[in-house]
C-alpha cells in the first residue's frame, strides 16, 4: 500500500535555475502515472526527487504514510529502471538481481526463489549466468525490470527506460511493462518524452513544461480536453494544427476566418466564442479530425497538397491553406493524390479547439 503525494515541490539549482516549480501531485496506490514533457521540463528531476537521488529545495514528498524528504534512497522502498539500464557491469545477471536482496540480508534460498519467479516472468532463465555486456539492449532492460521486481518494492520508478531501444523493441517492451503492471500491481511513475508511451502506459498522464505541471488527467481527458495550447500540441501524433483566426459574427452565424479559410462554428463553440467577436483566437484542429471531401455546410476549405506521406495503412498530407501549413491524417491509403493537387478538406464538427492567444487557455462555453 503506497500512494505517493507531492506537495508544493520545488527544485532550484543554484540561484539561477528553477527546475521544478510548485508541483502538486497525488498518485493513488497501484496507479500507473506517466510524466511526460519535452526535455528540460523537470520530469526527470521530479522522479529523481521521489527516488531521493536529488535533494528537494522545498515541499514534501510522501510515500505511503511517511514523509520521505530526508530519507536516503535505500530507505524509501522503491525500485528504479534507468534509461541506460544501469546494470552492474562486473556482476552476472543473477548477482545483479540478487544485489538488492542481499543488501537486505535475505537468505540465499529466498533470493533464489524470488529470482526464479522474476526470471520466469521476464524470460531471463537462460541469461542468469551472463554478464550484462553479453546482452542486447532489450535483454538488459528486461534484467533491469527483473531487478526491480525481485525486491518487491512499494513503488516502481521508470526514467525513460525505453529511449535507448529501437522502435520495434520499444513497442514490445511497452506491452511487457503493461503486462507486468497487471501481474504485479504496484504504484508506478514513468517518465518519458514520448507522448505515445505516456498515453499507452499511463492510467493518468501528467504533462509538464518548464518545471510546471500543465495538466493531469486520463489519456482520454488530456487528448480530448487539453488544459492549454501546449498540451493540445504535445499530445497526439501527428501534432495538432494551429491556425491564427479571427472570430466574426453577422448576428446569425459565427465564423472563424483566416487567410484562405472560413469555417462556421455552431453550438457550444459559437457560445464560447461570443466574447471574442472581432478578435483573434488560435484554432486547433487535430489532423485526424480533418478529412478529404465536402463536409457539413461551412466546415470545408480548399487546401494545396505539398507533401504526401504514404504510410501503407493511411496517408498523411501536408497541405497549405493560404499561408498556413495544415496536416491532414487518416486519408485512405488507396487515395490517388499527388503533390500540387488541390483538395477539399472538411473539419469534423465539434472537434475544433479554440485558445486565447494571450493566455493560451482553451476558450470554452
Amino acid at each position: 500500500m503506497a500512494a505517493i503525494s507531492l506537495s508544493k515541490l520545488n527544485k532550484h539549482y543554484g540561484s539561477l535555475f528553477h527546475a521544478v516549480k510548485d508541483v502538486d501531485l497525488e498518485i493513488a496506490d497501484k496507479e500507473f502515472v506517466a510524466l511526460v514533457g519535452p526535455s528540460g521540463c523537470g520530469k526527470s528531476t521530479t522522479l529523481r526527487m521521489i527516488a531521493g537521488l536529488e535533494d528537494i529545495t522545498s515541499g514534501d514528498i510522501r510515500i505511503g504514510n511517511r514523509v520521505v524528504n530526508d530519507l536516503p534512497p535505500r530507505d524509501r522502498d522503491i525500485a528504479m529502471v534507468f534509461q541506460n539500464y544501469a546494470l552492474y557491469q562486473h556482476m552476472s545477471v543473477y548477482d545483479n538481481l540478487a544485489f538488492g536482496l542481499r543488501n537486505k540480508k535475505t537468505s540465499e534460498a529466498e533470493i533464489k526463489a524470488a529470482i526464479d519467479r522474476a526470471a520466469g516472468m521476464l524470460g531471463l532463465h537462460e541469461l542468469l549466468a551472463r554478464k550484462p555486456k553479453q546482452l542486447s539492449g532489450g535483454q538488459q532492460q528486461r534484467v533491469a525490470l527483473g531487478r526491480c521486481i525481485v525486491r518487491n518494492p512499494e513503488v516502481f520508478l521508470f526514467d525513460e527506460p525505453l529511449s535507448n531501444l529501437d522502435a520495434k523493441l520499444r513497442a514490445q517492451m511497452r506491452i511487457e511493462i503493461k503486462r507486468l503492471h497487471a501481474a504485479i500491481p504496484t504504484t508506478s511513475v514513468f517518465v518519458t518524452h514520448d507522448q505515445v508511451e505516456a498515453m499507452t502506459l499511463g492510467d493518468r498522464v501528467v504533462i509538464m513544461r518548464d518545471g510546471r505541471v500543465q495538466q493531469v488527467g486520463t489519456p482520454l481527458q488530456v487528448y480530448g480536453k487539453p488544459a492549454n495550447k501546449f498540451v493540445a500540441g504535445f499530445i497526439g501524433a501527428p501534432a495538432m494544427n494551429f491556425v491564427n483566426v479571427t472570430v466574426r459574427s453577422d448576428g446569425v452565424a459565427t465564423t472563424v476566418e483566416a487567410d484562405g479559410l472560413k469555417l462556421t462554428v455552431s453550438g457550444a463553440d459559437a457560445r464560447a466564442l461570443a466574447a471574442y467577436h472581432g478578435k483573434p483566437v488560435i484554432m486547433g484542429a487535430r489532423p485526424e479530425h480533418l478529412a478529404l471531401g465536402e463536409g457539413a455546410p461551412g466546415a470545408s476549405f480548399d487546401a494545396h497538397v505539398e507533401v504526401v506521406e504514404q504510410l501503407g495503412s493511411e496517408i498523411l498530407l501536408e497541405t497549405k491553406v493560404g499561408s498556413h501549413g495544415i496536416t491532414v491524417a487518416r486519408v485512405p491509403a488507396e487515395t490517388v493524390i499527388a503533390r500540387g493537387d488541390r483538395v477539399r478538406v472538411s473539419a469534423q464538427p465539434g472537434r475544433l479547439h479554440f485558445f486565447d492567444p494571450e493566455t493560451e487557455l482553451p476558450i470554452t462555453g
Binding site: 527516488a51 534512497p73 535505500r74 557491469q89
Partner: protein, 278 residues
C-alpha cells in the same frame, strides 16, 4: 602488431613495396627505442677493460653482475626502491581513486577547491618542488627516511593522477551507482561496491603507471635521501667516481633495474591499454 598495409599509406606504390616500406619504418622506430637497451645489455656483459671497445671484443662475462649483487648498498637500494614504489602506489591509489571520483561526481565548493589546488600544484614545475621539500624534510626530521621520500611521492601522484582518475570515472555511467543506492547501498557503499569494481581496469592501469613512475624517479631520490635510504636510480648514478667511470657496473645495475620495470610493464600492459580506453 601485424604489419598491415594501409590503403592511404603512399597510395601510388604497388602493394608489396608499400608493405616493405611500412615494415622498414616500423623496424626503424623499434630499433631507435631498442638500440640503447641492447647497448646497455652488451655493456653490462663486457669486462671492465672492454667497455670502451664493445664493437671489437668478443670477451663476455657476468662478473659485473656478480660484483653488483654482492654490494650491500646496491641490494638494499633495490629493496628500497621496490618498497617505496609499492607503498607509494598503494597510498596514492587510496587517495587518487577517491579524489578522482569526487572530482567526477560532485560539483560542490569542496570539489572545486580541491580541483583548483591540484591544478595549481600540477602547474608548478616538478623541479621547483624539490628544494622546499628538502628543507621541510630536514626540519621535520624526515630527511633520508622512508616517510620523507614516500610522502612527496604520494603528493605528486595525487596531483598528477587524480586527473586521470577523474577522466576514467567520467566515462563510467553514474546511474549504476544510483541504482546501487536505491538497491540498499549508502553513497560510500555505491562507490566501493559498484564504482570501484567498474573502474578496476583503469585503477590497475594507474597502479602500473604509479609504480613505474616511482621506480624510475630520480630527482626526489637524489635530493631527499642520503646513505640510509639509497634508491636504485641514485645508486646507479654513483658509479661516476673520482677513480673513473665504472660503465660495466652501472650497466649491470641498470639492466637489473630494468627487469622489474619491464615485468610490471609487460604484465600491466593489458590493463593499461584497457584502462586507458575506458
Amino acid at each position: 602488431m601485424p604489419i598491415v598495409s594501409r590503403p592511404d599509406f603512399l597510395p601510388g606504390l604497388p602493394k608489396w613495396s608499400r608493405k616493405t616500406l611500412f615494415a622498414l619504418a616500423l623496424f626503424g622506430i623499434c630499433f631507435a627505442f631498442a638500440f640503447p637497451v641492447l647497448w646497455l645489455i652488451l655493456t653490462s656483459l663486457r669486462p671492465e677493460s672492454g667497455v670502451y671497445y664493445v664493437h671489437r671484443g668478443t670477451e663476455f662475462t657476468l662478473a659485473s653482475f656478480a660484483e653488483v649483487l654482492t654490494d650491500d648498498r646496491i641490494v638494499s637500494a633495490f629493496l628500497n626502491s621496490a618498497l617505496i614504489s609499492t607503498l607509494a602506489t598503494i597510498f596514492s591509489l587510496l587517495v587518487t581513486v577517491s579524489s578522482g571520483y569526487m572530482l567526477s561526481r560532485f560539483t560542490g565548493p569542496a570539489s572545486r577547491i580541491w580541483f583548483g589546488t591540484i591544478y595549481v600544484f600540477r602547474c608548478i614545475p616538478y623541479i621547483s618542488w624539490v628544494l622546499p621539500l628538502y628543507f621541510v624534510t630536514q626540519s621535520w626530521g624526515l630527511y633520508d627516511t622512508y616517510t620523507g621520500l614516500l610522502l612527496p611521492h604520494v603528493a605528486v601522484h595525487i596531483c598528477f593522477f587524480s586527473w586521470l582518475m577523474k577522466g576514467f570515472f567520467d566515462g563510467i555511467d553514474p546511474s549504476m551507482e544510483y541504482a546501487a543506492m536505491i538497491d540498499g547501498c549508502t553513497r560510500w557503499g555505491a562507490f566501493i561496491r559498484v564504482a570501484i569494481p567498474s573502474a578496476l581496469p583503469a585503477i590497475s592501469a594507474l597502479a602500473v603507471l604509479c609504480w613505474l613512475f616511482t621506480w624510475n624517479e630520480f630527482l626526489f631520490a637524489l635530493i631527499l635521501t642520503g646513505n640510509r635510504v639509497p634508491m636504485i636510480t641514485v645508486v646507479m648514478a654513483q658509479f661516476v667516481t673520482e677513480m673513473g667511470l665504472r660503465w660495466n657496473l652501472m650497466a649491470a645495475t641498470a639492466v637489473m633495474a630494468l627487469v622489474p620495470a619491464f615485468l610490471v610493464a609487460l604484465f600491466g600492459q593489458k590493463y593499461v591499454i584497457r584502462g586507458l580506453r575506458i
